[in-house]
Amino acid sequence: MRGEAAERSVGGARTPLRRAARLLLVLLALAAGGAGLGLTVGLRTDLAEFLPAGRSPASSFLLRELQDGAGTTLLLAGIEGAPPGELARLSREVAAGLRASPRFAFVGDGTTSLSEAEQAFLFRYRYLLSRETRPEVFEPAALRQRLEALLDGLRTAASPLLARYGFADPTGAFLGIARDFLGETQIETRDGAWFATGAGPPRALLVARIAGSFGLDAEAQRAAIAEFRSLFAAANPGPARLLLSGPGVFSSEAADAIRADVELISLASAALLAAFLWWRYRSVLLLGLVAVPLGAGTLAGYAAAALASGGAPHGIAFGFGMTMLGVTVDYPILLVSLRRPEEGLRQTARRIWPTLRLAAASAAIGLAAMLGSGFPGLVQLGVFAGVGLLTAAAVTRWGLPALVPPGMQVAARPLPAPLAASLRALRGRRGLAALALAAAAVGLAAQGGPAWQRDMAALSPVPAAAQALDAELRRQLGAPDVGLLFALGPGSEAEVLEAAERLAASVQPLLEAGALAALDLPSRFLPSPATQAARRTALPAPEAAQAAMQAALAGLPFRPGAFAPFLAALAESRALPPLTAAGLAEGAPTLAARLSPLLSRRDGQVWGVALAQGVTDPAALAALAGRLGDPRILLVDVKAEMAGLLADYGRATLRWALVGGVGVLGLLALGLRGLRPALRVAVPIGGALLVTLAVLTALGQQLTLFHLAALLLLGGLAIDYALFLARSAGQRRGGEDALGAVLTCAVATLLTFGLLAFCQTPVLHGIGLTVAVGVAAAFLLACALLPRPETD
């Protein structure tokens, strides 16, 4: 082809080259603009921020926790693939390495213990921290019992321990809090490692909390995960494997996996698309032309979304928006394919502009409706895709013709004969189309309409296998995903801790009745200042203590003065200031690490969380929360709140999509001058959506936001197909050119998006499947609803 051009004109030979260079320059400029915007404005990436601010205090609290709660710093690990003894050794060595590293705030395994400095600190505060500090404990009779128990304990192998603590603390306050704090875990401990119970190969378990500020500090998380892995590798694991999970792993490693998935699919689809377009047009230039409106639309949409949101647009809005801008790939294809042999590209652009304009405006109207939804994510999405679409259409109309060398012979080759024949046979089969639509409607109705995804997990871009591993490790570690929790606060630290203590007192009967197995409260690790002050006043004055001790000791074989350290400690404790979270963090970091997930500071306010475990009677907890009527105690049903949030979101999207649909119909009626032609165009569009929904439902797909985004893309595509086919039906060769052009568009879209159906990631799979099914349905329906060509 280059040879032909050179032969044709010697003088103008440089113009086509210059035009090609200009196209290249334009593409480079677009890429540079995109990079510039990306670097200066950037994207926000967390799902929580994309969701609405929360319809209730409970869901607002949850969304904040999801965004930067302590849960985001948790790492769960399993080690398997070796004999138990070897697994235990690996677990101990990795845990020791983790404890030595400043990147980890807390490490839980079978050897969790308090350091000597922490023990000394807690020993000092024992009477303020112990639940047992009550006046009656220091009465002679109660003391007597304790002394007898001490005597008994001194006979055992534990006697060195008791000899060390018992004479300074005969009431056992310190050993009690140490036991309370470290907890008797239900996880099986063997050889200093936690082991998963149940059938299956042995698996050692570890849990670690990444140090530093909460929230998705991606770099810190990545570094911590890398260190975890290298510690494992350094422990000579042999055949053993490390399984690592947690939000940090998801956000870094799973994201990498998804990126690799997308990159592979993108490469494959780009290669296939290029090959297909080459086959249809025999022109490399066309590939560049296709990219120009898409690039310009993306840039314009990005900039508009950034302006509208007053900052970085959301990554999810960007991703969905890009999906919808897939429509714009059609525009240059239609422009080039619909050019008549005698026309210049400029004339073609002018001729098809009314139809193109109507198609783009209708698609944009469908999206613009989302602006009214009031959901920040949807508004950004509407702005992004709407502006992008219109920009791409305008660039196709006025920009592309200037970029194509005038001598360039880009034209679609005729369709292969059998394909053309079968398409001709399909035309005008309105009965067939009606039958398909009826079947889809009945099928959908029989299945009770489309199924909505109510599980937050399905929205996560994390592969199902990784989610399953996470759930398994959580279950084995006895920390299943929390279904019910109490939000405590906001208020001062003291107010939140007091709320926790009120809750602890009132939940006690439910614990005894078995309505729940446990409630993890911040006040377990740090009593409120008021409680600590009350305990202080419960301690006897020195003379009273001395007298009580003397009475209790009567007849026991203890020597005089044996309990002098105890009496001194009582006197000292009466003057201790109550311990605060900051004091605990300084003196006992291991305990502070246990407390910190339950007590967090945000915007100068303190929030607490109480996690309910093993809930068998959620109604009883709800009734308790209602009865308390405490403004600082809020019951949060995580699953229900999330499901409600998603349902709200889905409903809003659907409602505004319907409003958009009506808008599209109105615009079509305006553009086609009449409701009847508008309806004729609208039937294949609506029909394609109906068939897609029916097929997705039959395939057992539960609809998510991602499916909705794909459906909106589909709506835009269907508008193109229906309009261009309908407008060309009365034209030369019965619109066969248009049929070929639209088929090219449809195949190009299938190659771009349809391939995503092969991805493992649920999100990408959902988009791919929706587009693949929908594009096929839209094209076939639009084709079948065309008038039958006059028989020659």
Binding site: S113, A157, S159, R164, T189, R559
Partner: protein
């Protein structure tokens, strides 16, 4: 003579602390070391043994000692079990670095790392190192004074090298005849625990 000299030196080293501890091993007289090695070789030849014991604990805060009795069993290379039968029932089992404590009559079962239990560690390594016939293990944890006595009898004074352990246990005296330990006296926190051991077949 040599016995009291050894004990005195051990006590002196104990007072001077960690600084001098590394010097203790080379300072051990050649004859003493040879005697210790010969004895430990005989212990090493016995992969397992059983014994009964009686124990008296004297605690400075108590007017009278606390007696108990039970059995001991050893299984090379590192398993040691002390089972108290009277007046209470309890089991202490050590394997490697892990310590299992059980009181069957009270349903108590706990596992610890020896690292976290300095008092236990001091005692366990002394008896285990001797029963295993492992001079390396003994030298790793203790400054050792060894006396060979007539008729195959012997006496060892072990002073923990670690200050942390020494805070809890100042001295352990082991004595026996041939490859059998017959007495273990543990001194710590101002008290002393005397264990008398009778080998079982």
């Amino acid at each position: 003579m040599t016995g009291s000299f050894g004990a005195a030196r051990a006590a002196r080293l104990g007072r001077r602390g960690l600084l001098l501890a590394p010097l203790a091993f080379p300072a051990l007289a050649r004859a003493e070391e040879a005697g210790l090695q010969a004895l430990l070789r005989r212990f090493a030849a016995l992969p397992q043994s059983r014994a009964s014991f009686t124990e008296d604990k004297a605690i400075p805060e108590l007017d009278l000692p606390l007696p108990s009795e039970g059995t001991l069993s050893w299984q090379a290379p590192d398993r040691l079990e002390k089972r108290t039968l009277s007046p209470i029932q309890e089991v202490l089992r050590v394997a490697g670095d892990r310590l299992l404590y059980e009181r069957p009559d009270r349903g108590i079962r706990r596992e610890f790392g020896l690292e976290d239990q300095p008092e236990m560690r001091a005692l366990v390594e002394a008896i285990r190192g001797t029963l295993a016939g492992d001079p390396g293990a003994l030298h790793r944890y203790y400054d050792i004074a060894f006396d060979a006595l007539p008729e195959g009898a012997w006496r060892m004074v072990l002073t923990p090298l670690s200050t942390r352990v020494r805070a809890a246990v100042q001295r352990i005296l082991l004595s026996g005849r041939g490859p059998q330990i017959l007495a273990v006296d543990t001194e710590g926190n101002g008290g002393v625990t005397r264990m008398r051991i009778t080998p079982l077949p």
